[in-house]
């Protein structure tokens, strides 16, 4: 099932590429406009990279879902004997592999724009890696909720952004702890817990939403 999803995602490579270029270009613009002040750049880098990662996931995932719905792939899922939750989970995993990992690598490479030290880049990538499954499943939820509506990507951002706030804050708390040289294990555990919880909640809600989305 995961392999099937990977193939699907690969076929929609154009959307992924567009999202990547959005991510890269936005980071570039921000780094340029903030100017060459080392302190500002260093302090704002984790927050900016996190927010851009959230935005690009929330914009691209629903687009992919809409494309799949148009091809009738979603109706197939309900005919399938296994629960739709498995399908959604495999979709999340596939997206993490094909979209999340490259995003994190690109983000890590571009952190040199922000003059981040090596250790910070590592922590940032790690927090993004933990948070990404939750982001992707929330993006799926947003896409399914708005699949028949007329609102565009902005609506999804309005719906889902408040829900991603815990991830963002815990991820940045880990970064802050590492930067100050404190023990970051507590916030690390919290980040992981919240990410898992969000994955469970949004997958459950999405499987409801999927049924409604198809029944119309």
């Amino acid at each position: 099932m995961i392999r099937r999803e990977l193939r699907n995602l690969y076929l929609h490579g154009g959307t992924l590429l567009a999202t990547f270029s959005f991510f890269v270009f936005a980071l570039f613009c921000i780094a340029l406009t903030l100017g060459p002040h080392e302190n500002i750049l260093k302090q704002s880098a984790p927050a900016l990279i996190w927010i851009l990662a959230i935005l690009s996931t929330l914009f691209s995932t629903p687009l992919l879902l809409k494309a799949e719905a148009k091809e009738g792939l979603l109706d197939e899922i309900l005919l399938h004997p296994s629960s739709p939750a498995f399908y959604l989970l495999s979709k999340t995993i596939a997206e993490c592999i094909l979209f999340g990992l490259p995003l994190i690598v690109v983000g890590a490479c571009l952190s040199s724009f922000f003059l981040l030290p090596y250790k910070d880049i590592l922590t940032l990538s790690l927090t993004l890696l933990i948070g990404f499954p939750a982001l992707s499943s929330l993006g799926i939820l947003g896409g399914l909720l708005t699949i028949h509506s007329q609102g565009g990507g902005l609506l999804i951002a309005l719906l889902i952004l408040p829900l991603t706030l815990p991830l963002l804050l815990f991820g940045l708390a880990v970064m802050e702890m590492v930067r100050l040289g404190l023990d970051s294990s507590a916030s690390f555990c919290l980040l992981t817990g919240v990410a898992l919880l969000l994955v469970i909640i949004s997958i459950t809600a999405s499987s409801w939403a999927l049924r409604f989305a198809i029944e119309g």
Binding site: L141, L155, L163, S202
Partner: protein, 237 residues
């Protein structure tokens, strides 16, 4: 079809006497609450008369949370049992809750300016109320973005349920974030012991807000039910 209309008609019947009663109670409570909060209650020894804002602010925050809970409960009913009355109550309640949330934010910052010296602090409580407002906004925007109201309602109900689970997590995360940044957090009500002379206006105003919610809810729900009935009649022609 008969079953579909039976229960809403019962609702319409019981609310006919309930509406004037709740409107009457709302007026009484508002008058009593205003009198006690502005005239008879003593000024706070720390904050002076400024703390009278509490009597309009705190009940608004209570109602903001209460209405969201009500909304989530009704969304649950409408998703699981497809109960038409629950659907109507949910969409009727949402704008009232959003109004209370906005009022709570506005009066809160009007209280904060003379007391703390600023309109806005990134305090955990303030931030979570703001997020509550966003959740209400998202609910309404999602509901309105569908051309078919029944589809929009289902999507919005799922969102409301996800939101109600997430609200404590969001609050916790903001609190955690704040302890990292500003150790001295601001507490609004000093201690659990409020004197009776301050508690009375607070409770009176809370009662007034509650009956306000009830009155407007009935008005909106009746309106919504009747428009639905008209739409069904139109479609049968």
């Amino acid at each position: 079809m008969k079953y579909h209309l039976a229960q809403p008609s019962f609702f319409l019947k019981i609310t006919r006497p309930l509406l004037p009663a709740s409107g009457f109670l709302m007026t009484i409570f508002f008058i009593a609450g205003l009198y006690t909060s502005l005239v008879t209650s003593p000024p706070d020894y720390l904050q002076g008369d400024g703390m009278r804002i509490m009597y309009v602010h705190v009940p608004a925050s209570w109602m903001a949370l209460f209405v969201y809970g009500f909304l989530a409960l009704m969304s649950f009913f409408s998703l699981v049992w497809r109960h038409p009355l629950a659907e109507v109550l949910a969409i009727s309640a949402a704008p009232i809750g959003a109004l209370f949330t906005a009022l709570s934010l506005i009066t809160g910052s009007l209280w904060g300016k003379p007391m703390w010296g600023t309109y806005w602090v990134w305090d955990a409580r303030l931030t979570s109320v703001l997020i509550l407002l966003f959740l209400y906004g998202g609910y309404w925007a999602l509901y309105k973005s569908y051309t078919r109201p029944d589809q929009g309602l289902r999507a919005a109900s799922i969102l409301a349920l996800v939101g109600v689970i997430n609200l404590p997590i969001i609050k916790g995360s903001v609190e955690w974030w704040n302890t990292l940044h500003q150790p001295a957090s601001l507490t609004k009500l000093s201690g659990p012991s409020i004197h009776v002379s301050m508690l009375t206006p607070l409770l009176l105003m809370a009662g007034a807000y509650f009956f306000y919610f009830l009155t407007v809810l009935i008005l909106r729900a009746c309106k919504e039910l009747k428009t639905r009935k008209l739409m069904i009649l139109e479609s049968m022609k």
